[in-house]
């Protein structure tokens, strides 16, 4: 749409000729061009820009973007069973309300006084998360679970001076790819070797014999997850942590916080460093833009001094009896010490911590329990139901939380074909594992949460029956 006359831009209060003239006069120059004198002419853009039309009219912009978005199909318009690292959980309206408050949306970095409310929310998130996972020390959030794991492994390497990490073979390929970058290629002097630990094919739990085989004094850390990528609750966590400790290695546990209303807290079975995702706690998926990760540990200087994250502490103020909040241990961050800091930090996913604080407050101890119970019951119901469909089997009927593997070897179609057929019927089938876990045959990872009613699950089963026959 052409612009007939130049008009001040709504986002720029000084986009008015009279103001610009006034400023130029104050500076004693004729044109703003003079102010760019530092930039040599040969550095200036030559040629033109091929830019789409300006949509400074909100009515047009809104139409354009909403028309774009309307081309998507979502987990609201469709029934989705996708999980595996980003999960569709219910986001309470109060989380959205608080997270979208202008006061929380817009700040950067003020003083402990000007940021007081926001800092308190952050502290309340860390404190509630600490209760959930049983850890006294929680760092400010990082980008994702994978990034948290990467940092945790590097912390363990620095703590132990060792350069090997043992990881479960059953691991989200996305997360594994992230971790790999943190462990550096072998050419680098501080390379950390990644060694896979097998799983018991029957139970999906970590193979302790294989673990024992690899667990020696070169190992900086044993990393385990519960529930793991395939949804399995690791029952030997305490034993594994003890083995690691005996070998002088750190135990890093990755955990789904929403399981902890009913599952034991990692801090209570020997985890040294605890990581996981913040996304399930009140943050919409946003195609993966809802991710966030946390790093926590016991409150010991040994750990505290290896955190790459910012560390927010409660503190006294100048007024007797009043508390405030401020960053601690800044000097060890990259802001404080550049390349001598611990890894690096920067803008992260702090707004999600606000949603998380609200989420955990809303649920409280009983809400966490109810949620955990509902998910584990419905997930098992789904596993049972799907197992009855001709050609479909659910190899593990027990010991999982909200995700489980569905096998289609008995169906004459690939998982991709089945998912395509489901999509036609308004269902997003589970993540295809055929290529990433070939040992599982034609399998998919199905995720069932509090959003899936019995009716939804039955509808899935019936549709699969139709699609697979």
């Amino acid at each position: 749409m052409k612009e007939a006359v130049r008009r001040a831009h709504p986002f720029m209060p000084n986009s008015v000729d009279s103001i610009k003239q006034e400023l130029l006069q104050e500076l004693g120059i004729d044109s703003v061009e003079a102010l760019f004198e530092q930039i040599p002419a040969s550095h200036r853009v030559a040629g033109t820009f091929n830019f789409p039309p300006t949509l400074s009219a909100e009515v047009e912009l809104n139409r354009h973007i909403s028309t774009l978005l309307a081309k998507n199909q979502s987990c609201e318009s469709h029934l989705s069973f996708l999980g595996g690292g980003c999960w569709q959980h219910y986001v309470p309206a109060v989380c959205q309300e608080i997270m979208s408050r202008s006061e929380f949306l817009t700040p950067v970095w003020g003083t402990p006084s000007s940021d007081h409310g926001r800092n308190q929310v952050w502290f309340e998130f860390n404190s509630q998360l600490g209760e959930l996972i049983a850890a006294d020390m929680v760092g400010m959030p990082v980008y994702s679970w994978g990034c948290a794991t990467g940092h945790a492994i590097r912390m363990a390497s620095r703590l132990t001076g060792r350069h090997k990490v043992l990881l479960p073979r059953i691991l989200d390929p996305e997360r594994r790819a992230v971790i790999a970058n943190y462990c550096e290629p072998e050419e680098m002097p501080s390379h950390i070797a990644m060694v896979d630990i097998a799983s018991d094919p029957a139970t999906g739990a970590l193979d302790l014999a294989d673990l024992k085989k690899h667990l020696d004094e070169s190992v900086a850390a044993v990393y385990l997850e519960t529930p793991n990528y395939l949804g399995i609750i690791e029952t030997q966590a305490e034993e594994i942590a003890a083995m690691a400790r005996a070998a002088g290695a750190e135990t890093i546990v990755g955990v789904d916080p929403l399981s902890l209303g009913i599952l034991k807290a990692p801090g209570d079975y020997g985890a040294d460093i605890i990581v996981g995702s913040t996304q399930p706690m009140g943050v919409p998926m946003s195609c993966g833009g809802g991710l966030g990760g946390f790093i926590a540990s016991r409150d010991e200087p040994r750990y505290a001094h290896e955190y790459p994250t910012l560390m927010l502490s409660i503190a006294d103020t100048a007024r007797e009896g009043e508390v405030g909040f401020s960053m601690a241990l800044m000097h060890q961050s990259s802001y404080g010490s550049r390349e001598d800091g611990k890894d690096w930090t920067g803008n992260s996913t702090y707004l999600h911590a606000i949603a998380g604080a609200v989420y955990l407050s809303l649920l409280g101890p009983e809400g966490m329990r109810e949620l955990g119970e509902l998910i584990i019951q419905r997930a098992h119901y789904a596993a049972q139901r799907l197992n009855t469909v001709e050609g479909i089997s659910v190899p593990r009927q027990q010991g999982f939380f909200k995700e489980f593997v569905v096998n289609f070897d008995g169906v004459g179609k690939s998982v991709a074909e089945i998912n395509a057929a489901l999509l036609e019927r308004g269902i997003f089938g589970g993540i295809d594992l055929t290529e990433t876990f070939p040992e599982l045959g034609r399998s998919a990872l199905y995720c069932v949460t509090e959003l899936h009613t019995q009716t939804d699950i039955d509808h899935l089963a019936n549709t699969l029956q139709e699609v697979c026959s």
Binding site: I65, G110, V323, Q398
Partner: protein, 503 residues
């Protein structure tokens, strides 16, 4: 509001949210939840979370929001380019067609999103001259880290990675450049500034060698100084076999004025949460948009969003890809906001924003330097600065004992959120770095200047009022010194209770 920590609030038995009880048929089929949890992993006690009702929780957090200044006041946080965050973009991104997308959905169900991302990629290519952008990096520092990973992959593919173990930067680069270089396993060489305000060509030449893996540099720097020899720098590093990465954190003053690729850079990074109108959210979710030339494209983290025969696809960059710096595709809801903001601004708007931010900064500089106790970094370097100027309150401190932190605290009393001081290390004492940008009205800028003038006057007439600030805030000055002590720091309520001996 005198708002307690939520861990102290509530009454046992209060509920903030219910969840449904499992349907009868479900419960019959699978039994109770307790039986489904392996005994070894059953949680013996409920987590010690607070117990409040929904209205109490809402009110608590609303109170805390009101105790947060954010952009309710005026914030000229330098190096971070405070931007207007159009609320229409927030509403659009909250739509289920954006918020309720799973990253593993079939690309056929994500066509609108991918179209938006691709369109924005094309716009950033225009602005930078680069050939491909990716949005996986979840912040500017993560984009720097992406570059260090790509640097590894690039040299590894040539068999030179063991040899090329150094990354060069300047003392005026953002800390994330040396920090991510170090995290990636490189040795960091930091060039000092010479009297012109940027490192000398000689210093660069001395640093460059066959061990050089890359140069990571910003330009202009946080003092508003532009290195006019930057093309020569790029040539020298390239000749030595290194890559050149342009940290475009300070893009606001040069938008549409220069293009990274035309200066010879191999890659660059834009912070969508700074320059492109995405809310900062107190520290993310953010996006470090990483763009590179064809040369580095094979090493990009994947997948790439591509347009093939009218359909948008998620394409694997190939065997040389560094894989992932973060799961999935990035904070795409923020990319969509940046796309919308950039469409709203248009090319002319971006150009005007650069003009205004530079114009206002120089106006501010003129006025601020009239204030007693305020000086400018590199006072001997004549000429106009770009969108920022670094100042010093050294003189004020020498004269009155009032520190730059005191001034910051005092300005908050007037509704002005903290200015940025400077990244470590401080090259000038008591530094501060306001950035006017294009979103604040001239009236706001004049108010800011007037407040600093008043605080300076106070410092000279009654320093105590500045030193004991803030006076009108939710809480008084926090005692930060003890926080370095293990017995005092407390990152959680659990730790605080324990250390304070609270029940």
């Amino acid at each position: 509001w005198d708002e307690p920590v939520i861990m102290e609030m509530g009454v046992p038995g209060r509920r903030g949210a219910h969840f449904p009880v499992a349907e009868d048929a479900v419960a019959e089929a699978v039994g109770g939840a307790a039986a489904l949890v392996p005994a070894a992993m059953a949680r013996p006690e409920r987590p010690a979370l607070p117990e409040l009702s929904e209205p109490d929780i809402l009110r608590h957090y609303l109170h805390l929001s009101q105790e947060t200044l954010g952009m309710m006041g005026i914030s000229l946080f330098g190096t971070c380019t405070m931007k207007y965050n159009p609320r229409v973009n927030e509403r659009l991104a909250a739509r289920p067609e954006m918020a309720q997308l799973h990253p593993k959905q079939d690309p056929s169900t994500l066509q609108g999103l991918l179209e938006g991302v691709h369109n924005f990629d094309l716009m950033l290519r225009e602005l930078s001259g680069m050939d491909q952008f990716v949005f996986q990096a979840a912040g500017g520092a993560d984009a720097a880290y992406t570059h260090t990973c790509i640097t590894r992959a690039y040299h590894a593919a040539r068999g030179e990675l063991k040899q090329r173990d150094q990354i060069i930067t300047s003392i005026q680069s953002h800390p994330c450049s040396p920090a991510t270089a170090n995290t990636a396993g490189f040795e960091v060489i930091t060039l000092p500034l010479d009297e012109k305000g940027y490192p000398s060509l000689d210093a660069l030449k001395a640093a460059v060698s066959d061990r050089t893996a890359a140069l990571m540099i910003n330009n202009p720097d946080d003092m508003g100084l532009y290195n006019p020899e930057i093309k020569e720098w790029v040539r020298i590093v390239h000749e030595a076999g290194g890559l050149c990465f342009y940290d475009h954190a300070n893009f606001n003053g040069v938008m549409t004025k220069i293009r990274a690729a035309e200066l010879g850079f191999d890659a660059c990074m834009f912070m969508l949460h700074k320059t492109f109108g995405v809310p900062k959210g107190g520290g993310g979710p953010a996006v470090g948009a990483y763009g590179c030339s064809e040369k580095l494209k094979p090493y990009l983290p994947g997948p790439l969003v591509t347009l093939d025969n009218g359909r948008y696809a998620l394409t694997d960059p190939g065997p040389h890809s560094i894989g992932k710096v973060r799961e999935y595709y990035g904070n795409l809801q923020q990319v969509m906001k940046a796309y919308a903001w950039t469409r709203a601004m248009g090319l002319e708007g971006l150009s005007e924003a650069a003009d205004i931010s530079v114009l206002l900064n120089n106006y501010m500089e003129k006025e601020l330097l009239k204030i007693r106790g305020v000086t400018r970094s590199h006072p001997d370097i004549d000429g106009w600065r770009l969108e920022m100027t670094r100042y010093s309150l050294e003189e004020l401190y020498e004269d009155t004992g009032v520190t730059v932190a005191d001034v910051q605290n005092r300005m908050v009393d007037f509704g002005i959120d903290a200015f940025w001081m400077a990244h470590e290390p401080w090259l000038v004492p008591h530094p501060f770095t306001p950035e006017a940008g294009e979103m604040w009205s001239l009236e706001d800028i004049d108010y800011w200047i007037a407040v600093l003038r008043q605080v300076s006057d106070e410092a000279y007439s009654n320093p105590e009022i500045v030193q004991t600030a803030p006076h009108n805030q939710a809480v008084q000055k926090v005692k930060v010194e003890p926080l370095e002590e293990p017995d005092h720091w407390a990152m959680t309520w659990r730790a605080w209770k324990r250390k304070r001996g609270v029940a």
